[in-house]
């Protein structure tokens, strides 16, 4: 059962590389996503048996697997529509004027997307630390080509940085895994060998050498922390998210970061079982606060709305780390709920950002105005998303942030609570003023329908991001035209998944259906173990 | 007991127009003129009441309501006024707040009536009136608060009753400060010399007179009578403090109070003859000074108890 969960997307990915016709490949993408979600839910109802101790489905893994699978389905639907609107032939990059670029072949994109899903599933299911490391490394390799989908100068740079920074981080994690294995080797006295699996390690954690387990946790934390985007080792995140296509950014923020977080939680489970829990709390708390601080610093005065969302991801990863750092069951429930809320809201925001980018053809916040009047549905979703991600009630993020704050205050950590609230306030101020300026006002931006100089043979105007630029790339700034730019027809596939996620975000704030509650409690119990 | 109060009220209503006559007569005395007859204001009122009225085409019902509400407020305020130690017709805790508020209502309707005419002069008068009264009102209230603190009473009738002599004995300097503050407020509220010149004819310099420039006939009569009542009101407060009354029969007390009022009018006349008008920007400093005096008095009262 678990193996099928992993192999299904992998096989589909391989097939996607081969299928020539685009339409079939997109259908395969959506079908695979649906199948995977079905299997995940089934795995929840009839928990499958672990496979030789290496692959197992525990509460924590199940929750984040559901998040990843659900988000992937929404992304698949969005990507299918997005790919159908993309032109494969070379076109002008509307940022740097003269340079022409073309897209990577669509097969590579879809294939890698599916491979990414299978690697993420492997990460969630892996209970063997070596296998976990291999899975996280393959996610890096699977996402590198996705970021480089639009083959232009900046996305290449983003990909390069992503590869170098993440690989160095992951190498440190490998070192941590080896140290952990060494500690396990020492613990396996009288012949019985302690494999480097979660259950075995936790079982005879008492016999693990404390110095080596601490060293192992340090390396694993910094290694997977790089991948999770905790400041100050988050540097790849803003570049990768702002240059990758929006659907990839949604998956990066919504799923990939959670994967690395699961890695850290596994290490923390082992560490606290071995009696070093207190050290884990301090480290995670420190990383959480630094991430919140860095996110607050970089969100203020941010002129690129996709980087704005990227730094918001750094902030929310900081909140997750902070929550685990505070410890206790109440904080654990807050963290688990917050992981879900963040993935839902961030996925929604990136998809809507993609729509806005497609029509306004600029990422500069100053030049985007009146989204509510030009793209009413996407505009509304944009505003709701920003409210959700900044933790404004009635959306879910408020409840989880409140739980974490309550845990902090109950534990008497006044300084942490103060820093946490201050950072959240600064981030709210920066994001709401940026988002409100974009959403409201009389619409600006190039009018896709009727620009004067129509290059011969250009395909009819449609919503595709990086659709063929009309006239000089500076049209977006120059041409405000007397009346506000006309309202743009928004295809269903562009806003349906985002609307579904928005509804879920609102639901999570007000009422919690039973299955979701049980999944959350299952994960919280596993997380609660980190006393 | 109520009879005395109503009697005092009637005394007030009848003798109020006499005081401007006394002031005018003292100024004439100082200037070596014979001056207008004491009952000049009565004659004016009688003449005006029998005249018709000319209303500007610009004005609305607000202009017509001004004098009526003004006079009503003045008379209602008189209901609350104790004279010569006897309680007022209507006396209750906090009646000084109602008194000050009624003066505020009088001022509000006069000013809106002035603005209704739409002339620059009336606007100027209205602006100055509101400006100075915004400073005079707090001084009056703080002075009364000092009195309340001293006598331990919150009703006017209680304050100006038998306890005044004791106050002079224990806190003479506080009482002195209160008297001087109230005197300045009296001059400011009734447009006497240091603040405003009642019988100038140059519109640009007037405050009260210019506000009522456009009123004629019965309206002007109401306004003049209300002004006289207001002078009587604030004068009675001042006299109530200055003339300490031993336990003497009420009739005699009332008589002494009226004599005190005449004396006050004479004092105002003297002040008007000896001083020239303050520059318009100096007046707020005078009022703030009076405010300072009242606050010092209040502090003294607070410290003592």
């Amino acid at each position: 059962m678990l193996l099928t969960l992993i192999l299904l997307p992998a096989v589909a990915g391989a097939a996607a590389f081969i299928i020539p016709r685009d339409r079939a490949r997109r259908a395969l993408l959506i079908a695979a996503a649906l199948a995977h979600l079905g299997l995940t839910v089934a795995a929840g109802i009839w928990p499958p048996a672990p496979v030789s101790g290496w692959l197992a489905l525990d509460g924590l893994g199940y929750l984040f697997l559901c998040i990843t699978s659900g988000l992937f389905l929404c992304a698949a639907v969005y990507a299918a529509g997005y790919l159908s609107r993309e032109e494969p032939h070379p076109r002008q990059d509307f940022f740097e004027g003269g340079q022409w670029f073309h897209n990577a072949p669509e097969a590579v994109f879809t294939g890698n997307l599916l491979l990414f899903l299978s690697c993420m599933t492997l990460v969630m299911l892996a209970h063997h630390f070596g296998l976990l490391w291999v899975a996280v490394e393959t996610t890096t390799l699977a996402t590198a080509p996705l970021i480089y989908f639009h083959r232009h100068h900046r996305s290449l740079e983003a990909t390069w940085k992503y590869l170098v920074v993440c690989s160095v981080g992951i190498a440190l994690a490998l070192l941590g895994t080896y140290i952990l294995a060494a500690a396990a080797a020492r613990a396996s006295a009288d012949g019985v060998r302690v494999p480097v699996t979660l259950e075995a390690l936790v079982e005879n954690a008492k016999r693990l050498d404390p110095a080596w387990t601490r060293a192992a946790f340090l390396f694993l934390l910094v290694g997977y922390g790089t991948k999770m985007g905790l400041a100050p080792i988050h540097t790849w995140l803003p570049d990768a998210h702002s240059e990758a296509p929006s659907v990839v950014s949604a998956l990066l923020s919504g799923a990939l970061l959670n994967g690395a977080f699961v890695g850290i939680l596994r290490a923390a489970q082992v560490c606290s079982a071995a009696g070093q829990g207190e050290m884990c709390h301090d480290l995670l708390l420190a990383f959480g606060l630094v991430s919140l601080g860095m996110a607050a610093v970089f969100v203020v005065g941010q002129t690129d709305f996709k980087r704005l969302l990227a730094y918001s991801s750094v902030e929310h990863m900081g909140i997750l780390a902070l929550g685990v750092g505070i410890g206790g069951t109440a904080a654990a429930q807050g963290v688990v709920l917050h992981g879900l809320n963040h993935s839902v809201a961030k996925g929604l925001l990136f998809m809507v950002a993609g729509n806005i980018l497609g029509v306004y053809r600029t990422k500069n916040v100053g030049e985007v105005r009146g989204v509510l009047s030009r793209l009413p549905i996407s505009g509304a979703l944009w505003v709701l998303g920003i409210l959700a991600i900044t933790g404004t009630p009635p959306f879910g993020a408020f409840m989880s942030e409140l739980a974490i704050l309550k845990a902090a205050l109950d534990a008497g950590r006044w300084g942490v609570a103060l820093g946490y609230l201050a950072a959240l306030a600064v981030i709210f101020v920066a994001m709401i003023s940026t988002a409100a300026k974009m959403a409201q006002g009389s619409a600006t931006g190039a009018d896709p329908a009727g620009a004067a100089a129509e290059p011969a043979g250009a395909p009819p105007a449609n919503l595709g991001p990086h659709a063929a630029a009309r006239g000089s790339p500076a049209t977006s700034r120059g041409q405000h035209g007397p009346g506000a730019a006309a309202r743009v027809r928004e295809p269903l596939s562009a806003y349906l998944p985002a609307a579904a996620l928005a509804a879920l975000a609102l639901l999570l704030g007000l009422w919690l259906p039973a299955p979701v509650k049980s999944a959350l409690d299952g994960a919280a119990v596993a997380l609660g173990g980190i006393k | 007991m109520a009879a005395i109060s109503w009697a005092n009220l009637l005394v007030g209503l009848c003798l109020a127009p006499l005081l401007p006559g006394v002031i005018a007569r003292t100024k004439a005395l100082f200037a070596g003129r014979r001056g207008q007859p004491l009952a000049q204001l009565y004659l004016d009122l009688w003449k005006l009441l029998r005249k018709g009225a000319v209303y500007s085409s610009v004005t609305t019902w607000v202009f017509r309501a001004g004098p009526v509400v003004g006079l009503a407020a003045a008379v209602a305020a008189l209901l609350l006024l104790p004279l010569g130690g006897a309680p007022a017709v209507v006396a209750f805790d906090g009646d000084l707040i109602l008194l000050v508020a009624l003066l505020g209502a009088l001022r509000f309707f006069l000013v809106t009536a002035a603005l209704d005419t739409g002339s620059a002069f009336e606007g100027m008068g209205a602006s100055r009136e509101m400006g100075f009264s915004a400073l005079a009102e707090p001084v009056l209230l703080v002075a009364l608060a000092a009195m309340a603190r001293g006598t331990g009473e919150t009703s006017l009738s209680g304050m100006f009753g038998a306890t005044i002599p004791g106050e002079w004995a224990t806190q003479p300097h506080a009482m002195l400060l209160i008297v001087s503050a109230l005197f300045v407020v009296l001059l400011a509220e009734n447009s006497r010399i240091p603040v405003d010149d009642p019988n100038t004819h140059l519109e640009l310099t007037m405050i009260h007179e210019v506000m009522v420039l456009d009123h004629g006939g019965p309206d002007l009569a109401f306004i003049l009578y209300a002004a006289a009542l207001k002078f009587w009101l604030l004068g009675a407060l001042l006299v109530g403090i200055v003339v300490p009354l031993r336990e003497i029969p009420p009739a005699l007390a009332a008589a002494t109070a009226v004599a005190g009022m005449a004396l006050l009018a004479f004092a105002v006349g003297v002040v008007e003859s000896c001083m020239a008008r303050l520059r318009m920007s100096r007046v707020p400093q005078l009022l703030v000074g009076a405010g300072g005096l009242a606050t010092v008095a209040l502090m003294l009262e607070l410290v003592r108890s």
């Binding site: 920074v165 060293a215 609230l421 | 019965p218």
Partner: protein, 683 residues
Amino acid sequence: MHQILAGVALVVVGGVFALVADRWSGRAAGVSAALGLVLGGAFGAAEAIQVLLGVTPTPAAIRPEWAFPLEAASAAMGVDALSAFFLLPVFIVPALAAISGVVVMEEFAGHKAVGVFWFFFCLLAASLAVVMVARNGVLFLVAWEVMSVAAWFLITFHHESDRARDAGVIHLIAAHIGVAFLLGFFLLLAPGAGGLDFDTIAAARRATATATATASDQPTGGAMVVAPGVLFILALVGFGTKAGLAPGHVWLPEAHSAAPAFASAVLSGAMIKAGVYGLARALALIGCWEFWWGPTLVVVGIATAAYGALLALAQRDLKRVVAYSTVENAGIMVAGFGVGALGMSSGSAPLALLGFGGGMLHALNHAAFKPLLFLVTGSVHHAAGTYGMDRLGGLMKRMPWTGLGAVIGAVAACGLPPLNGFVSEFLIGLAAFRAEAAQPVEVAAPLVVVVGGLALVAGLVGAAFTRSVGVAFLGHPRAPEAERAREAGWPVTAPLVLLAGCCLFLGMAPVAVLPLLSRAAAVVAGMDGQIAGDVLRVAAGPLFEMQPAVLGFVGLVILFGWWRARLLARREVRTAVTWDCGYAAPAATMQYTSTSFTQQIVDLFGVVVRWRRRMTRPAGLFPTSAAVETLAPDPVTNELFAPAFRGAARLFRRLHGLHSGHVQVYVLYIAFTMLLVVAWKMG
């Protein structure tokens, strides 16, 4: 309780219908929303009055089973006298404003999202009601923020103008920072596993309060982990920003002048009350009273009142004058609470009940005359197309009903006798005077501030509203739009007259309101309703004795009016031109403008108002044109918040250099972090 929930449901249904009906016509949307609001309001207000009068015993809190994501949260709701008292304006004001709004909104039907506006209008009213009824910290905060977000959509209805957008953002930021403080307040109020239900909190705190009455407030029962002083400061700042107290008021004038007038009526009439209600509920929940709370509330209240009155003087825009007067009235309400807190800490029940009663009565009165003034400005804008007083004038002739409403609103706002503004200020003044006369020095001293402060504020507000009514409604029309102004239909004027009637009723018969007041004040003072009723009836004795004087005043007005009519009946009454010293051609521009009227006072307080004057002097021998323009931006925003926010933003942007763009530096960051972590944890 169920009637109120039915009312809230009706309002929300009205909103949803408006959203759907927008497809056919804007008017349909408006009508359905107004219908929902009126019906829901009627339902809710009926039960609120019953609860207040004690007809129906205060219904027990209902606690519906609801799977909130957070187990500390529960949907506990209940109505006690305090909630019922504040529910009155919350149900009545939006209904009246909606009736007037339907007409105003019609002209936007075609090209603006009117349906969405009405939906959020109803959502605002509904969430306000839920705030008043919520008995759980989390439910309270969720409703609170939904209220702020709904208000944001109302404020930014005209979002094409930059001012409206900025106002919306400032409003949201202020609301969110307020919530941050409230989060601290609610969570620290009942630390430990216990949920955030008000009843459990109140019981726990009362238990520990009595236990630690003697000892210092070190936690014995665990419930009092945090010093009550900290809780008080958190509540004051959190609810103060929403109520509009001095430093936190910056969003209020911007928001109220950006929103459509009838929406501002709801913002001022009902939403500000949420802040005041919150403060009252917090004081009730904290359970113990420290000596320094009273003076703090008094000083903050009076400072806010004076500041608001002063800024109202310096404005040229009719709506901003009314908005700043909201700040002033909020100050007076909080000053009333201050007097009440002084009474509680000095143990004198009459003073406490008078103070709280005065504060809350002022909140109710404000909910009557402030929407009246906002509807007046709305009607003026609907007719003349502008709020600027210097482009209005002479509207009384052209719009008699609106003019009448304006005068009544102004008299009530200035707190002058016949109307309701005076009654509540009288109660607060009476409490202050009584305590100041009889109480020991440390209680009397702050009350001197109240006495002097209220008098100064009355003077300033008097000047502000005489100027506003005078310049806008009286005299010659200063611009062609004012010339063409005509009265709008009955839906605009009917609510005006109704609200004016409310003001008159509350002013002339405060006795009727007293019983409602005593039970509500008892909740804040933590006393039993019955005892509070008797104590307040004795304490507020003067209110009954004042009746004859006030009725006498009104009687005299009628008497003299009749006398003058009889005098003039037989005489010749002519109309002529205003006396103009014989000048040949008086022009409308010769009249006093709004800033010239108040220049004298504002120059006196120049250090606070700091207004800027732009002057183009007449040049040359025969000067063709000269102009002087005075601007009065809000000093707190300009000198305090704007530089602070700009400085912080500049500092943060300088830190952006950390993301330098070189891969090598990023890898260095990783190595450095690794080194740091190892050193910290392995060293």
